[in-house]
Symmetry: C2
Subunit: 356 residues, 2 copies
Amino acid sequence: RGVKKIAVIPGDGIGPEIMNEAVKVLRQVEQKFGYSFEFQFAMAGGGAIDQVGVPLPEETLSLCKSADAVLLGAVGGPKWDHNPPELRPEKALLGLRKELGLYANLRPVTLFDGMEDRSTLRPEVIAGVDLIVVRELTGGIYFGEKKRTKTEEGEIASDLLIYHEYEIERIVRLSFEMAMKRKKKLTSVDKANVLESSRLWRSVVERVAEEYPEVTVSHMLVDNCAMQIVRRPADFDVIVTENMFGDILSDEAAVITGSIGMLPSASLGQGNSGLYEPIHGSAPDIAGQKIANPSAMILSAAMLLRYSFDDEEAAQAVEKAVKAVIKAGHCTPDLAASGQKAVSTEEFGDLVAEQI
Amino acid sequence: RGVKKIAVIPGDGIGPEIMNEAVKVLRQVEQKFGYSFEFQFAMAGGGAIDQVGVPLPEETLSLCKSADAVLLGAVGGPKWDHNPPELRPEKALLGLRKELGLYANLRPVTLFDGMEDRSTLRPEVIAGVDLIVVRELTGGIYFGEKKRTKTEEGEIASDLLIYHEYEIERIVRLSFEMAMKRKKKLTSVDKANVLESSRLWRSVVERVAEEYPEVTVSHMLVDNCAMQIVRRPADFDVIVTENMFGDILSDEAAVITGSIGMLPSASLGQGNSGLYEPIHGSAPDIAGQKIANPSAMILSAAMLLRYSFDDEEAAQAVEKAVKAVIKAGHCTPDLAASGQKAVSTEEFGDLVAEQI
Ligand SMILES: CC(C)[C@H](C(=O)O)[C@@H](O)C(=O)O
Ligand SMILES: CC(C)[C@H](C(=O)O)[C@@H](O)C(=O)O
């Protein structure tokens, strides 16, 4: 399987701790599957602001550009919350997405065996949940023009939600391809009864749909979708939506199985490269305590194997290993049932690596 | 309590059926509390499109403007779903909000006694839920400039999210006042890490907060809020947010107690007038079958008494009546437990009226 360069950005808070475990697991994959991984560490986020004065240093960016894939822990923390916009840790994420052209954010949400009781939803409602949110990641209101004007009657602020047809088309196409490999059910989410950009979105979905007659497509308004995710999450297969709606809905969906510490994500662009990171944040409150759950980070590494190295076999080996460890009753404190003995971040990583 | 003019817009689908029951209940209130109500019926939505060619006829608008309050059933249906934007039933709602200056949408979400098992969330999670979403209703991306351009590379569409400081200030102030009358806890929801309009929003909240030292204020990012509503809904008191976030979050919040057929809303402006409508839609699939649940409509009438007629006593009498009927085991088919005998829309309205 050869030599692969992986850019590694541990980031802030629990980032470094969970990243250690993901690298440990990838080292095991390297041996078992005959890879030669070159891990290249770089900084971004709050740590980078503190050390070099910007959230996304040039070296980090060029390293990511030349790597075969990027693994990212988490960025941010209260320390930088009051920084001006350009000096916030999140800028690193937004910059990486834009500069690497990562227009598709994939967030699978599945229920893990033995974790049915961690959710705030009833077990029968989340049984069988297996959905993926495909979120457009480099367009929309995140990157449209922002303005701030002072007038005599006070200030005015604005953000432009703007989409080009080609931006919509490529993400929609990717979603149809994804649906073809899954249950062939696509829900496109918009607010076409109010937004012009949503009306364009919907028309593109309808046009592309003609090329995929096997896929059952439905359009759902974003407010309705926010309800249906709570009411009948198991009915969804692929959900595709624009950047801001995707931000909100994917977080909502992430929480329904009660295992946000378990959920990975992939951000893909045109080539094979991609950026892989957990859904959860940098959790500064528990950083350094050896209790962070590295599952989402490790599962993000599995997605990296799947999408950037096109290696379904190795990806599944990692996923199975995580599931096996959990099924065997090992877990970090966040998931431990009362009375259950929890393992440390490091021990959890060891157990997963052993399983591979 | 005197003469009051109430504009009544039954609308589409189940609108007319549930409106009958609300009017029935208000007739009872009229007698018991010494009012003299003048109900003035008007059309809007799909029916108006069919009959006079526009979703919001001039007569309807002027009638609403001169009324002491407006009661609205629901508008919309598949029949008009493919109409061009200007000829959609929803335009009636958007038009009424804008023309009547109804900048504050209030959506209380509470758990009704005896309905703990209708939710997809666990009973212990929804126990004690008593929150209110205050949504800005006449600004933001709903009313900002919309554009559609054709280029050689395809079309471009955009929507402008724009807020003036005074628009933010009045809704924020209203939310603080609301919090003062409740548990003194205000959660302001924005996306300040990405949007300029959210940064202005947040600064206004911080400024106004100084006038309400007794209120505990927190800022929450919209994606996080979408999670917390599912994780710990009982922790919220007043949630205030901009138009689009409010649309999404209030629908999500409406579903957590499993009783969306029960939830009313009020849209308020500067004077005492206001528009009152259920959260749920026009449900064309069950229209005319005498099975629609009129609770949300009746409870909207209660909100009308509270906010437009400043009559807490009469409002509570209506709310207590609805609760008593449900507690006594009567409900429409949507809420009937298996084996339970359901009552019709009309019977439910009769039962509520009798209780007053
Ligand atoms: C940190 C923030 C800018 C980011 C986003 O909104 O995209 C985050 O919420 C995410 O979903 O990755
Ligand atoms: C029908 C639609 C335009 C409306 C909105 O988005 O405001 C509805 O969803 C609501 O919340 O009242």
